[in-house]
């Protein structure tokens, strides 16, 4: 009997019958997350209902030396939730209770499978909301957000997930339930866990900060003939000292897709649109708004629309928020890339992307969080045309090189996962990577928690007493090194 088989027998005893999936047809529906190029059918899938069940499953995995992978809603874009064929996929989609809302204390305690938007919906009546707003907020889980340190359009002003999570209860890779809190003395273990992409354990309970809904919100849509003029406007706004809640840009191709998908009716003939949102006390918003409007016009905006109502604001955002998935309307397949560059390097990087498009005959739609230089180039291809997927992959990789060249990073918010692990050595030195792996080893010495993600070369963390003797087979095969 393989380790997985004997583990499965034990799982059957530990879980209610409908929480364990072993049927091959069902298992395959979990083969990928939002990035469908990487696929693997999980060995088994479990759907726990509580932290205790997660701990039981992880404990059994540790006992049997079987790897496990956490999955929330499976919207990740870096293959972080790619299952292991020899392992267990632990899905949190049934752990979706909001356990506690503390209005005066402005906190909520939720289970990891609760969707990002569900938190806001639960507290909106109290004039509160959960600030980080990934475009996938209606469906991505808060556990996934913690794992990816997800951001969104409004992170320019309000920060990422890490700025809004106060405590996390985790199941450690050996099956223990532990709480990591902002208030802990000593090392910031909470900070280390957030953004760890499921490699340090599984979050089973999350305490989030709730923010007070701003007194006033104003949203403006500015249309430009081209992306350069839009970029100028962004620089001008930031230089003027205004910190918009969000400042988002879309290029012509992205606009075309959004138009096809949700009929957002952005101004005709726009080569780029900028969505700028200001929020805060009414007087300040009004003042800054006049300034932003002027700066947009000076930078060449040919049409400016101002949302007069919540519906009009939603209409402006609809185009932007649906942009990724909407690209499906104008291209049979596409890759969502995620990179960061210093804002000042934007024009150079965009020109570089243009050159790549021409050189490789591949179209790239651009959507970005312009305020913090987080680019989301959408690399379009037709998988029915031989060779096109490979060229698209090449362009997608070269865009990351461009980002690194310009002093940026290979991911802003979608994580490294399995997809970008190979780029890690381009950005970090071997010493940097070693330091990161040491942290990982401290949590997960046996490398059972989401192995194969983030790091290009798995490192083993010294011998675990009593488990193995002699040279590790991975080391022997040249696949891993030993500290």
């Amino acid at each position: 009997m393989s380790a997985l088989e004997s583990l499965t027998a034990r799982l059957r005893d530990a879980l209610p019958p409908d929480a364990l999936i072993t049927d091959p047809v069902r298992l395959r529906t979990y083969e990928c997350d939002g990035l469908t190029v990487h696929r693997a059918t999980p060995g088994v899938v479990v759907l726990p209902d509580s932290a205790e069940q997660v701990a039981a499953v992880v404990g059994l995995c540790a006992e049997h030396g079987v790897p496990f992978v956490a999955r929330g809603s499976g919207t990740g874009l870096s293959g972080g939730a790619l299952p292991r064929t020899d392992g267990v996929l632990i899905v949190t989609s049934r752990m979706r209770r909001i356990l506690e809302v503390d209005v005066p204390g402005r906190r909520a305690v939720v289970e990891p499978g609760v969707t990002n938007l569900a938190i806001t919906e639960a507290v909106r009546d109290q004039g509160l909301y959960y600030a980080p707003d990934p475009s996938s907020q209606q469906i991505c889980s808060i556990g996934g957000n913690v794992a990816e340190n997800s951001g969104g359009a409004h992170c320019l002003k309000y920060g990422f997930t890490v700025n809004h999570v106060l405590a996390v209860e985790i199941v450690t890779p050996d099956g223990e339930i532990v709480e990591l809190s902002e208030q802990d003395a000593g090392y910031d273990l909470l900070g280390a866990f957030i953004g760890s992409e499921g490699t340090l354990g599984i979050a089973t309970k999350i305490t989030v900060r709730l923010s007070r809904a701003p007194e006033a919100v104003t949203t403006l849509l500015a249309a430009f003939t081209g992306i350069e003029a839009g970029g100028r406007a962004v620089s001008a706004v930031i230089a003027a000292g205004v910190v918009p809640a969000a400042i988002e840009m879309m290029d012509a191709l992205a606009i075309e897709a959004a138009e096809a998908a949700v009929r957002c009716e952005y101004p005709e003939g726009a080569g780029a649109v900028l969505v700028v949102e200001l929020d805060g006390p009414k007087a300040a918003v009004d003042r800054e708004f006049a300034e932003v409007e002027r700066l947009c016009r000076e930078s060449g905006a040919f049409e400016i629309r101002i949302a007069a109502s919540a519906e009009e604001r939603a209409a402006i955002w609809k185009g932007r928020k649906s942009a990724f998935a909407a690209v499906g309307r104008i291209s049979p397949a596409y890759i969502v890339q995620d990179g960061v560059v210093p804002r000042t390097a934007l024009p150079g990087v965009l020109a570089g992307i243009d050159r790549l498009q021409e050189e490789y005959g591949i179209r790239v739609a651009n959507v970005f969080h312009a305020g913090d230089g987080n680019l989301h180039p959408l690399v379009l291809f037709d998988d029915a045309v031989p060779g096109e997927e490979e060229r698209a992959e090449a362009v997608s990789g070269l865009i990351l090189d461009l980002c690194i060249e310009h002093g940026g990073s290979i991911t802003g918010e979608h994580g490294v996962g399995v997809d970008k692990s190979r780029y890690m050595p381009r950005m970090f030195s071997a010493d940097d990577l070693d330091a990161m792996q040491l942290v990982r080893c401290a949590f997960d010495p046996r490398g059972l928690s989401n192995p194969g993600k983030v790091f290009p070369t798995p490192r083993l963390c010294g011998e675990v007493p009593g488990v193995r003797r002699g040279v590790h087979p991975l080391v022997e095969a040249g696949l891993a090194e030993q500290f």
Binding site: D18, I21, D23, V25, R26, R28, T29, Y30, E31, C32, D33, G34, T36, L47, S73, G74, T75, V91, S93, R94, R96, G113, T115, L117, A118, S136, Q138, I139, C140, A260, A261, V262, S322, F324, A325, A326, V327, G328, R329, P332, A333, Y334
Partner: protein
């Protein structure tokens, strides 16, 4: 299962949270994304296993996923094709087969439904017993509305002012039998708004039930009959007040695509939902105040399948004194979904309970929706919750009451008598 349509899905998951079965069970296989993946597996050569068929059967066909999908995936067409494949390739258990045979022998036929009404009323008392024999029978007994006195509608109702349009009215099987007063109200509202209303006396089932259950041949037969009936009526448009019927009539051209002559006839037939039609026509008749609070329920076949959400709300807001309240999670199905509550009674009941809880939370006097199935479903759930009889009405009845200056207290009180209203036509 067209592979091209399957490929349109980019696996983003945006459809998950509005899918009622995902809401209930939180499993990938019972989400739209998972079901499309299963379709892909089948197209790729995996045989239709019992497990696979089970996940397709569990789909309510509510089309919330179509509304939610930014990539424009035609899940409606995919599931329709899939259901036909399931019927062809999957051997059902004798129990399942018996229930299905009974429903398909009964529901699309008005006369048979009528014959059923008395036994159904009696069966209410037998419900606990039936429940034990077969949950589907139990569900049927539980859902049955109080027997309504039959209403005979005249073949033509003349406009009550200068005629602005000549429209046909589809009376519908379930609507016609269990809620005849809704058809009467619809005819009156149309007449008061200046329409000549033709009501072909021998119209049959529109075929919705058959389409949604993987019986395309039967559906086409019903479709051709319905088209012919309304062609003979010589109308500008066919107005439909039952969401399920309207959405399938709007798809006739697709259903009959293989036959060019019939497809063309289908395309010529202009089908509009009542609310859609009235908003386009614009109000002329005077609205009398109706001091009542209304919780409006989006029927899936109206909101998702036809994209009609704003129009009924606009009509209701147009009634002076009426206060419109929104129901939380309005995009999520109540579990009625055509015949679903008969074939899959347990999840249907859970969804019904969920919906009832949210409807009751609005504290509204009256629940309004445009689909008889939803109304029966939610009313049954409210009863189960021990909250007695909730007052329910169709959008048409609310408008009718306002146009005629009736007392709102009379709206949605059971049991109803069809007679008085029939005379008013």
């Amino acid at each position: 299962m067209d592979p091209e349509l399957i490929k349109d899905c980019v696996h983003c998951g945006f459809c998950l949270t509005t899918c009622p079965t995902y809401v209930l069970w939180g499993e990938e296989m019972d989400s739209p994304r998972g079901r499309i993946h299963l379709m892909g597996q089948h197209v790729g050569g995996t045989p239709m296993t019992g497990e696979m068929a089970g996940h397709f059967d569990a789909c309510l066909g509510c089309m919330a996923c179509v509304t939610a999908c930014p990539s424009g995936v035609r899940y409606d067409r995919l599931i329709e094709e899939t259901r036909a494949v399931v019927e062809r390739e999957h051997e059902r258990t004798p129990d399942e087969r018996a229930v299905r045979a009974m429903v398909f022998a009964l529901f699309p036929y008005r006369r048979r439904l009528r014959a059923m009404r008395l036994p159904m009323a009696m069966s209410k008392r037998l419900q606990p017993f039936l429940e034990r024999v077969n949950p589907s029978l139990g569900a049927m007994a539980e859902l049955a509305p109080p027997a309504a006195r039959p209403v005979r509608l005249p073949p033509l109702v003349r406009a009550r002012r200068r005629a602005r349009a000549r429209v046909g009215l589809l009376t519908g099987c379930v609507q016609g039998e269990f809620f005849p007063q809704v058809n009467a109200a619809t005819a009156r509202v149309l007449a008061l708004e200046g329409c000549d209303v033709v009501i072909p006396p021998r119209q049959g089932c529109c075929g919705a039930l058959s389409v949604h259950s993987g019986r395309p041949e039967e559906a086409r037969r019903f479709a051709r009959r319905t088209i012919a009936a309304f062609e003979r009526a010589g109308v500008d448009a066919v107005v439909v007040n039952a969401a399920g019927c309207g959405s399938s009539m709007k798809e006739y051209a697709d259903l009959l695509a293989a036959d060019p002559a019939w497809r063309e006839r289908a395309e010529r037939l202009r089908t509009l939902d009542l609310a859609e039609f009235l908003v386009r026509l614009g109000p002329v008749a005077e609205r009398h105040p109706l001091p009542v609070s209304v919780a409006y329920h989006d029927a899936c076949h109206l909101a998702h399948a036809q994209g009609i959400r704003a129009e009924p709300r606009e009509l209701l807001r147009g009634v002076p004194g009426l206060e419109l309240r929104e129901i939380a999670e309005s995009a999520i199905c109540c579990g009625s979904a055509g015949t679903y509550n008969l074939f899959r009674p347990e999840p249907a009941r859970e969804l019904g309970d969920r919906k009832a809880e949210r409807v009751l939370a609005t504290g509204a006097d009256l629940l309004v929706s445009a689909n008889p199935g939803c109304t029966m479903q939610i009313a049954a759930a409210v009863r189960r919750a021990g909250k007695g009889e909730i007052r329910v009405a169709h959008t048409a009845e609310v408008l009718d009451a306002s146009l005629r200056g009736l007392d709102p207290g009379a709206l949605g009180r059971a049991p109803r008598t069809g007679r008085a209203k029939a005379r008013a036509v």
